[in-house]
């Protein structure tokens, strides 16, 4: 086999910075919000259940403070959720897929197709209600990357595209 190893100037390489990211489905914002609201209400219900056993917790001044804190935190979390939606994005390239996330702590993860072991489409109960799904790409070593908020068809399409890419890579 002839081996060649030409020098590559880094400027010629495709850059991860000049990528236009696609946004998740707009309904995913609702999914994020509802998921959080359910969580917040479960917390509240849990508090009342505990309060049933320890009646001190249901005294008026304490209850007021707890409710106030709960509302403020929930409100903040909802704002954060909306923000976090704005920062989500994914981009397909010929040989890899990019996924970005994070409001304060931002990250970009790039998964090359020829490292993908297999992929999975998953739908949570709330996501199913809105016809959304998430696609998880598994690579070796337990590094999996999830792209959330795709419409089910889109997820299926992406999965097929990636599966084909993986297969094509294998054949070469």
């Amino acid at each position: 086999m002839k081996f060649s190893n030409e020098q590559i100037k880094s400027l010629q390489l495709p850059s991860m910075d000049v990528i236009e990211y696609e946004k998740p489905d707009i309904t995913y914002r609702k999914v994020l919000m509802y998921s959080f609201l359910i969580f917040a209400f479960v917390l509240l219900v849990g508090y009342f259940v505990v309060g049933y056993f320890a009646e001190k917790l249901l005294n008026l001044p304490i209850l007021m403070i707890v409710m106030l804190t709960w509302s403020i935190l929930t409100g903040l979390a909802i704002i954060f959720t909306v923000k976090s939606y704005d920062n989500l994005g994914y981009a397909l390239r010929d040989k890899d897929i990019l996924s970005k996330s994070g409001v304060f702590f931002k990250s970009i993860v790039i998964v090359p197709f020829n490292r993908v072991q297999h992929s999975e489409i998953e739908q949570g109960p709330i996501e199913r209600l809105f016809g959304l799904a998430e696609l998880t790409l598994f690579t070796a070593g337990g590094n999996d990357e999830t792209i959330s908020g795709l419409s089910f068809d889109k997820a299926q399409m992406l999965k097929n595209y990636i599966t084909n890419k993986v297969a094509a890579d294998e054949e070469e």
Binding site: N5, Q7, I8, S10, L13, P14, S15, M16, D17, F53, K95, D96, G102, F104, F105, K106, S107, I108, V109, I110, V111, P112, F113, N114, R115, Q117, H118, S119, E120, I121, E122, Q123, G124, P125, E127, R128, F138, T139, A140, G141, G142, N143, E145, T163, D169, E172
Partner: protein, 495 residues
Amino acid sequence: MKKNDGEFSVPTRQSYVAIIMILFKTINIVFRQLIPVLVVILLGGSEKFDYILWVISVIALLSMIYAIVNFFRTYFYIQDDELVMHTGVFSHKKTIIPLERIQAVNFEQNIVYQIFDVLKLNIDTAGTEKNEFQFQAIDALKAKRLREIIMAGKKVSNGIALNTLEENQPDNSEYKEILSLGFTDLLKIGLTENHIRSGGLIFVFFLWIYQNLQEAGLDVDEYSEEIPEWEWGINAVVLIVFVFLLISILISLGRTVIKYFDLQFLRFDNGFKIVSGIFTKKEVSAQDHKIQFISWSDNLLRKIIGYKNLKLHQTTASKANKSQLIQIPGCKAHHIQDVVDTIFDNKDINEIEVERVSFFYFKRFAMIWAILMIIGNSVLLWFELYNQIWVLTGLIIMMIIGRFLSYRKIAYGHDGQLLVLKSGIFGDKNTVLPLYKVQTVKIYETPFLRKKSLCALILRTASGQITIPYLPSESGRNLGDFILYKIESTHRKWM
């Protein structure tokens, strides 16, 4: 390509025994979580005992429903050389694994399983820590047939015989010894362990025992009061530190001897192997292509005697990933050179130019901890705990100095094939990673890093991740782009 003749091409469910297994497992898990709660409630007055019974019944009922739904929602079939599995009680989950990606199909069977003649089935794919998939119970015959088909599918698509998938290791005569540790080596290694760390572990351990005794109602302080008041002078402190150090050294020594007794580091045709152990001989081998990256390190004491600790990070299909790490203490520089030459085709690692990371790596850390120190000390001052102020200040200053030393060491670079990361505090650590072994690339930014146009570059491999912190945003992205180019343009397999 062999077709599967319809077998398993229709959705197949688990054995009905699975319902019992799942039920048992769920109830088991739920109750283990609930035990503390139940104990607290039962001890704290049983007025509401009725409710507890109710709760238990509801949990049992829900578990039963869960088990049944789970059973009906779990099925698999084989389609176009892919194993398709449907799972999930509350959410649909469809897993597709190409047969050729399956590394192993493992069976598990305890007594209960034997009675019903069923098997628990685990399907492993390459390099993942957890099992990709597990069936609670499948008829033994069906399970064995499934394994045959999967393995046959593998054979056809890989074009190689099955037995070559297993590690076929050569006879003893083909092993070449790289290094073996004698008793004096072990003594030296044990004595030069990181005693501060073992000391810390012992300290935490005793603290834990002390707290547990106290919680159990034993008044430990009562006994200590019988001892006449100590003069907490310098002498006592020195004595305690000395005894502490002595115990630490003895413990590290013991651990080293047990762990590395009679260690042999061997080379065979296309891999490495270590044999060691005092009571049970442990053998671990790593084939070259399975090694993802290597690292070696020393500490202040080992630097003096020139010993390094070499680690070969390899990927495995097995669950017990950690035990597959090959670690060889007591390597001399030339041993390391040997290994590097063998794996990386005589590359000179020292010729790779390295760059330091941003000074903010130190400055930011120092700032944050200085602020925490001021806050902590103010609190202590408020409560008039003057002695503790010294301890806290000392600890934080030590941490900051440690970070500074680490800043002076940390550097990264690559030559187009290999990435080198240098780090360490008192000692030196070197990590060498072939670029094409990287699985995914991640760029990470905190608000602070973004403001200073810095970032962290995280390279995940099949055997753990390597982080380059505080590097200029542009360098990070360029390096990331380059590594991606390397991964995507080579067809060299990462294992």
